[in-house]
């Protein structure tokens, strides 16, 4: 009895070369590891500063955010966290959709919804970080606004 032929996992029917589509999947695999390591550092710092130091979650209000984003260091930190986390999470969900959504139509719909959510969230967050003005409210009592 001949041994059954078992296809390599995730190979395409007909034995298409995995290289045929370029290196996208390899690059995304590498990106998950690289961005993951960076995110561990970024999110640990984020949680430590916002939840552990000072008064923890009780300190987080408009003035706290204004104080952080007055410093370009935290603007860049939060921007990097936003982009890396959304792309890391978006790519993770793309993998999960590919694994579990067996019908082509379902897969396409879910992926478009996912890409839409990623783009909207990244654009929204980026705009907020760069257009935030702590003194937009003329009646602001923040010390930084009264110095003007």
């Amino acid at each position: 009895m001949a041994a059954p032929i078992i296809e390599t996992p995730r190979s395409r029917p007909g034995g298409r070369s995995p290289r045929a589509g370029g290196n996208f999947e390899l690059n995304s695999w590498l990106f998950m590891r690289g961005s993951g390591v960076l995110l561990v550092v970024l999110v640990f710092g984020h949680l430590f500063v916002n939840l552990i130091t000072g008064e923890g979650i009780h300190q987080v209000d408009f003035g706290f955010v204004a104080g952080k984003w007055a410093n370009p260091f935290w603007q860049v930190w939060d921007l990097a966290m936003l982009w890396l986390a959304m792309l890391h999470g978006g790519n993770g969900l793309r993998t999960i959709i590919n694994d579990y959504a067996t019908r082509a139509g379902t897969r396409l719909t879910l992926k478009w919804l996912l890409y839409f959510a990623v783009v909207v969230t990244v654009v929204l967050g980026t705009l907020v970080i760069f257009t935030f003005d702590p003194c937009a409210d003329p009646s602001s009592t923040l010390s930084v606004c009264q110095a003007k």
Partner: protein, 110 residues
């Protein structure tokens, strides 16, 4: 196997929280009073407990993720993957317990 399942579940959880979190922080572009009201939601004891849960979810995903990177890139990684799972659990406890003590004191300490 269970770490693989947990990695997916925690990853999806973090992704959806991140979308919510970007939206709630975006309220900083409305008015200071409204933003503070939104942030007060996070200081509610029930939500405070959910935050602790979310930190647990993040910690597992982060530590298990480091283990995955070591399995993939460290030549000795695959041989030690099981021991590294125990290290993930150990480091998780070492980091999460002090966080929980601190965070619950903040949330319930008034």
């Amino acid at each position: 196997m269970w770490t693989w399942v947990l990695h997916r579940i925690t990853g999806v959880t973090l992704f959806f929280f991140l979308i919510v979190h970007v939206i709630d922080i975006s309220m900083v572009r409305t008015t200071p009073a409204f933003f503070d009201r939104v942030m007060n939601t996070y200081k509610n004891p029930v939500v405070g407990l959910m935050e602790a849960g979310l930190v647990a979810v993040f910690l597992f995903h982060a530590l298990n993720g480091i283990r995955l990177v070591l399995v993939d890139f460290w030549s000795e990684g695959p041989r030690h993957q099981r021991q590294m799972t125990y290290v993930v659990v150990g480091v998780f406890v070492v980091l999460f317990v002090p966080f929980l003590v601190r965070h619950l004191a903040v949330v319930f300490g008034g």
